[in-house]
C-alpha cells in the first residue's frame, strides 16, 4: 500500500543534497576511507606484482627436473651422467640441434643493491646452449649473448635495475675473478629477468662444482604429455629425480611470500579500517543529529522506519564509495608500476618486480570501502529511525 521505493528515493535525494552542508565532516570520513583503501590496494599490489613475475616465469610445456627430495634448485644436485639420461628420455621436444634440454647450475653471488647500497643475494645461473630454446622468451635487448667457454655474463633487465655494476661492460666478482657483462636480456617479465646467466661449463670450475649440475630444464612435446614424461623419468631405475612443471614450481615458490604480504596488508588495512569505521560513524551520527528535526518531520508525515534506515545507509555508502574510488585512484597513480626487489625465500635470492594495481584489486578496495560505509552508517541509521518523533520535532 505504500510506495516504498518512492519514499526511499525521495529520502536518499534529500540526504545526498545535505552532504554539501556538512562538507567538513563528510570530507574527513571520505578521506579517512580513501587512506585505508589506498594502503590496502598499495600493499596488495606488492603481492600481485610479485606473483605476476612468478606466474610469468613458468610455462606448462616446460618441466624442471631436480634430485628427488629437493624442493628447490638450491637444494638439488645432479651428476653429468644423470643429466644426459634425462636429456635422452623420450617425450622431450627436439630441434635440429637435438633435444630441448639444458642442464643448469644455480649459485648465488653478492652484489650491492642500488636502493640501499647493501649487499644482496643475486642468482647466477650457468646454462647450456639449449637453454635459449627451452626458454624461448629470453631475448637479448642490449649487447650480445655471452660466448661459450669465456668468462662473460648476460644480465636480466630487472637485475640491472636493482643492483649496481650490471650495466653493459660492467664487471662482477665471480669467485676470485671478475667477469664482464656483455648483454642484457628480457624474459617477458618472468623471474629470469632477476638473474645473471653464463656458460655452465665455466661456472662449474669457478664454484668448484666439478661436473655436476642442479637442475635440468626441458621443453616437453606438449603440455598434455607431461604426465607420461614424468612417469618415464620417475620409473627409470637409473634415476632418482623429481619432475615438476615449471609453472607449478614458481607458483609454489610465490605462495609463501604473497601469502605473507597479503596477510600483513590485510591486517594493516583491517586495523585502519576499524579507525575509518569510527570516522564514518562520527560523520553519520552528526549527519543524523544535525537533521533530527527534518527526520522527525518526515516520520511525523508517515515515512516508514525502513526507508529512513536505508536512506541514511545509502548516504554513508555513497560517501564511502567516493572515498574508496579516490583511495583506489591514489593507489593506482602512486603504486602501479613502482619497481622493487624482494627476497625469494625459497631460492634465497632477490626477485625484481613491479607493484601491480590490477582492476581486481581496485574493485576489492572499493568493496572494502563499501563495507566500512555500511558498518559506519548502520548505527546512526537505526538511531535516526528510533528517535521519539514527538520529542525530536521540537529539536533544532
Amino acid at each position: 500500500m505504500f510506495n516504498w521505493f518512492s519514499q526511499i528515493f525521495a529520502l536518499i535525494q534529500f540526504n545526498l543534497r545535505t552532504i554539501w552542508q556538512r562538507k567538513g565532516s563528510s570530507a574527513a570520513a571520505l578521506f579517512g576511507i580513501a587512506g585505508v583503501v589506498a594502503v590496502l590496494v598499495g600493499v596488495l599490489s606488492i603481492a600481485q606484482g610479485f606473483s605476476a613475475v612468478m606466474n610469468a616465469s613458468g610455462k606448462p610445456d616446460t618441466a624442471l627436473i631436480l634430485r628427488s627430495g629437493a624442493d628447490t634448485e638450491m637444494m638439488s644436485g645432479l651428476s653429468r651422467e644423470t643429466t644426459r639420461i634425462i636429456a635422452d628420455t623420450e617425450g622431450i621436444a627436439r630441434s635440429t640441434e637435438g633435444a630441448l634440454a639444458s642442464a643448469e647450475l644455480f649459485v648465488i653471488i653478492n652484489l650491492p643493491k642500488r636502493s640501499t647500497g647493501t649487499d644482496a643475494n643475486v642468482p647466477l645461473r650457468g646454462v647450456e646452449p639449449m637453454a635459449f630454446s627451452v626458454r624461448s622468451d629470453v631475448n637479448i635487448i642490449q649487447g650480445r649473448p655471452f660466448e661459450w667457454g669465456r668468462n662473460e655474463v648476460i644480465v636480466g633487465s630487472g637485475a640491472v635495475r636493482e643492483f649496481e655494476g650490471l650495466e653493459l661492460g660492467g664487471r662482477i666478482p665471480v669467485g676470485k675473478e671478475e667477469w664482464t657483462v656483455v648483454g642484457i636480456f628480457e624474459a617477458n617479465g618472468g623471474i629470469s629477468e632477476s638473474e645473471i646467466w653464463t656458460d655452465a661449463s665455466v661456472l662449474q670450475p669457478a664454484f668448484r662444482r666439478g661436473n655436476s649440475f642442479q637442475a635440468v630444464y626441458v621443453k616437453i612435446e606438449t603440455p598434455e604429455s607431461f604426465q607420461d614424461f614424468k612417469d618415464r623419468l620417475t620409473t627409470d631405475p637409473r634415476l632418482n629425480v623429481k619432475v615438476i612443471r615449471q609453472d607449478d614450481y614458481y607458483a609454489d615458490q610465490s605462495t609463501a611470500i604473497t601469502g605473507l604480504i597479503t596477510g600483513l596488508g590485510t591486517l594493516i588495512a583491517g586495523l585502519m579500517g576499524i579507525g575509518a569505521v569510527f570516522g564514518a560513524l562520527n560523520t553519520m551520527y552528526s549527519a543524523v543529529s544535525s537533521r533530527t528535526r527534518e527526520i522527525a518531520t518526515l516520520r511525523a508525515l508517515g515515512f516508514g522506519n525502513g526507508p529512513i534506515v536505508i536512506s541514511v545507509m545509502v548516504e554513508a555508502l555513497v560517501l564511502a564509495l567516493i572515498g574508496g574510488a579516490i583511495g583506489a585512484g591514489l593507489a593506482y597513480v602512486a603504486f602501479d608500476g613502482f619497481r622493487a626487489a624482494t627476497m625469494n625465500w625459497q631460492s634465497f635470492s632477490q626477485v625484481a618486480f613491479a607493484f601491480d594495481v590490477t582492476p581486481g584489486l581496485l574493485v576489492r578496495g572499493i568493496f572494502y570501502a563499501a563495507i566500512i560505509g555500511l558498518v559506519g552508517g548502520l548505527f546512526p541509521a537505526i538511531r535516526a529511525a528510533r528517535m521519539p518523533v514527538a520529542a525530536a520535532l521540537r529539536e533544532g
Binding site: 505504500f2 534529500f14 508517515g302 514527538a390
Partner: protein, 233 residues
C-alpha cells in the same frame, strides 16, 4: 471516514500521559476526556507546559497515552503498532508546525509533495494535487522557491499546503502563528478558517494567542492536565 452517530470525529477517553525523568514521574495529562465533532475548528489554549502539545500529539498519533484511549474516525489509534501508526498518520493527519519544518533542500512544491510520496499516486497526479494545494494557500507563483527564500508567513503557508495536500481527515496545527508577525499570522489564521469553512476541514489548533483562538469555532482550555471551556483564573 467513519464518524460516530453524534458526528464525533475524535474521541479521547480517560487519557493519561506521564513522562519519566530519572526516577521522577511527570504527569502531563490526567484522565482527560475530549470529543471533537467533524467539521469543527477547535482551539486548544493553556499556559506553557499545560500539555496542549502532548494532547495534540496523542490525537495525531505521534505519541501514545500511558493509559486511556484515543479514537479517530472510529479507529483506536493508541493500539496501533509504530509502523501501522506511521501509515495511519500518512492517510489521516495533516500537520502544521510552529517552525514550519520544511526541508531546506527541497523547493516549495517538493516539500508539499512529500506526503503524496506515501501514496500510489502517479507523478502527474501528484503534481495536480500539489498545484491545487499551493493554489489554495495562494503560493502558486512561489512553488519553485526554496524555503530560505520565502518569508515566515509564506513558509507557513507552504507548511499548510503540505498539511492539506493529501486531503487528510484531520488537520492539526501546533502554534501555527507562534513564529510569525501579526500580519502574517492573520493571513495564516484566515487560511485555516477558510479551510474549515469552505472545505469543511476538521482542525485542531494549539495556540497561546487569544487573538488566534477567536477564529476557531470552539476554544478549550487546558490547565494542569484538565480541560475546561473557561480559562483558568
Amino acid at each position: 471516514m467513519s464518524v460516530n452517530d453524534n458526528g464525533t470525529l475524535v474521541k479521547v477517553d480517560a487519557a493519561t500521559k506521564y513522562f519519566k525523568r530519572g526516577s521522577e514521574e511527570i504527569h502531563v495529562l490526567e484522565k482527560l476526556d475530549m470529543q471533537v465533532p467533524e467539521g469543527e475548528f477547535l482551539a486548544l489554549m493553556g499556559p506553557s507546559g499545560s500539555g496542549k502539545s502532548t494532547l495534540l500529539n496523542l490525537i495525531g498519533g505521534l505519541d501514545r497515552p500511558t493509559s486511556g484511549s484515543v479514537t479517530v474516525a472510529g479507529e483506536r489509534i493508541d493500539r496501533l503498532s509504530r509502523q501501522k501508526l506511521a501509515a495511519w498518520r500518512a492517510r489521516h493527519v495533516g500537520l502544521v508546525f510552529q517552525f514550519y519544518n520544511l526541508l531546506p533542500v527541497l523547493t516549495a512544491e517538493r516539500n508539499v509533495e512529500l506526503p503524496l510520496l506515501l501514496t500510489h499516486l502517479s507523478r502527474a497526479e501528484r503534481k495536480k494535487h500539489v498545484d491545487a494545494a499551493l493554489d489554495v494557500v495562494g503560493l502558486s507563483h512561489r512553488k519553485t522557491h526554496y524555503p530560505k527564500t520565502l518569508s515566515g508567513g509564506e513558509q507557513q503557508r507552504v507548511g499548510i499546503a503540505r498539511g492539506i495536500v493529501s486531503d487528510p481527515t484531520l488537520l492539526l496545527a501546533d502554534e501555527p502563528t507562534g513564529d510569525l508577525d501579526r500580519k502574517s499570522g492573520d493571513e495564516v489564521l484566515d487560511l485555516l478558517k477558510a479551510l474549515n469553512k469552505d472545505h469543511n476541514k476538521t482542525i485542531i489548533m494549539v495556540t497561546h494567542d487569544p487573538h488566534a483562538a477567536l477564529r476557531s469555532t470552539r476554544t478549550l482550555y487546558l490547565n494542569e492536565g484538565k480541560l475546561s471551556t473557561e480559562p483558568a483564573e
